[in-house]
Symmetry: C2
């Protein structure tokens, strides 16, 4: 069930000439709503701001956006306090043709979705993953951003559905580990916590940032570096981050199984203490 709003009015449809429909010309954020409040709101705004700059979109009025978000959450009365809000920033309607004036003013749409908490066993035992066949293109002009051009994730995620995996690891075209289809990946290797560099492709998730910052605030280093597929399999532990579920250990990737997650459990406890209650194991 979903409820969409534009300018605080219900919005079930968009113009067929909307540039998001025609070209994927825009950005989005998926915000976890907990007890009616948007979690990690400032990080979502930071990424949206960076995205608007790089796509040359005029940043929506942030105070008004927050009011519209609160209104949307309140109006979606049949959806409990635990839900997801998706904010779509579209470049709106224009005449046919790729080009637009820059910066372009944006139209924002807010959808509120009922979500289910991930089962407690998965926080304890970890999730099943695979390596997707779909590879991410290298040196994307939109690396790091959450744009509306998501065909790579659509193809990779559809592989997970076809093969009944909770999540799929995506590699880039040079076989480096980048992220999950809907999450970021961390590995633990010889007591070091590492997460892949995202300067060539991938999305810089808000929960990835929150995890890195939480660890660093606890004097635990996180290395951001290139990680090849082999290093993934040789790692001692693997975990995923996502704005909705927080942190989940990885139990399996293809043939490789990780039974124990001691470092991951420590990270989960720290992040749980730092505002992401789901992570408490």
């Amino acid at each position: 069930m979903s409820h969409w709003f534009h300018d605080s009015e219900p919005a079930d449809v968009v113009s067929i000439d909307d540039r998001a429909f025609q070209y994927g010309d825009g950005l989005f954020e998926t915000v976890a709503i907990r007890s009616g409040e948007p979690r990690l709101w400032d990080y979502h705004l930071d990424r949206m701001t960076m995205g608007c700059e790089r796509l040359q979109i005029a940043l929506p009025d942030v105070r008004s956006l927050r009011r519209q978000l609160d209104h949307a959450v309140t109006q979606s009365g049949d959806i409990p306090g635990y839900c997801a809000a998706k904010i779509v920033v579209s470049c709106g309607v224009s005449a046919r043709g790729y080009g637009r004036e820059t910066p372009t003013s944006a139209k924002t749409y807010i959808g509120v979705f009922a979500t289910m908490p991930v089962a407690k066993e998965l926080y304890r035992d970890g999730v099943e993953t695979l390596v997707c066949d779909t590879r991410l293109a290298l040196y994307s002009a939109t690396a790091g951003l959450k744009t509306l051009n998501r065909l790579e994730q659509v193809l990779a995620r559809s592989e997970c559905i076809a093969r009944s995996a909770f999540e799929g690891m995506t590699l880039d075209a040079s076989e480096r580990l980048i992220c999950g289809t809907m999450s970021n990946v961390f590995i633990v290797s010889n007591q070091t916590i590492i997460t892949p560099s995202l300067h060539r492709c991938g999305v810089e998730g808000v929960m990835r940032r929150h995890t890195i910052e939480t660890l660093r605030a606890n004097d635990i280093a996180v290395d951001i570096q290139d990680v090849n597929e082999d290093k993934l399999y040789r790692s001692d532990e693997v975990f995923l981050t996502n704005s909705q579920f927080g942190i989940l250990p990885v139990r399996r990737c293809g043939e490789k199984v990780w039974q124990h997650h001691p470092v991951t459990n420590k990270v989960m406890a720290m992040v749980a203490k730092n505002g992401v209650a789901e992570c408490a194991v």
Copy 2:
């Protein structure tokens, strides 16, 4: 002015949950309509078929699509015989989430747009171009296809508008010439006609294919190979192909000017004879 249709009924809006709006999950074709008939229709269908296979979309019923196209063109009565029809193949509405069942059945939308012929002087003297700053990502899973993920072209084309150029040359992230923002590129170098390889990125245009096949049918070779930026500037002639305008010589790219286009003019004459009347100089 535009008229959009879905299942032969007017369609001004789409569901906000449409996957084309949410993820750019789909394909499109822009077909030149001349005297009411779609030009190079079989080539458009071939590319759409290849795209549907690679994106795991069930191919729309092709006979029904043609009937809908003819209906849309006829119904757009105030648009003369010289226009463009844009066919959008969207994966339609689904629940939130990147993944979908594969193959997915598609929804098709057809828009008919009034277009103006390009001025005769440009066919004679050539067009002004520049090299865009936006680089195309390498080894894209959708290389060659005309998907609804077009942010690279949006950014590159917007550069052309900001700098008043007719077209922009796009390079890939390794500085190879790939194509124009809305066209394919050919260069003439020591009497050899060359067009860039599109296996890493770029769109395989139907007019590119028609030009290659027309040349080969006239026993003129076309080399498909990697072309670096330097080779572009050292070339003797450059021309662009596009489904709507056919072929146009390039007069300028940045500082480099080409005054004469003798080989290009021969190619234009051949392609004009082979169904693309605009090219006759």
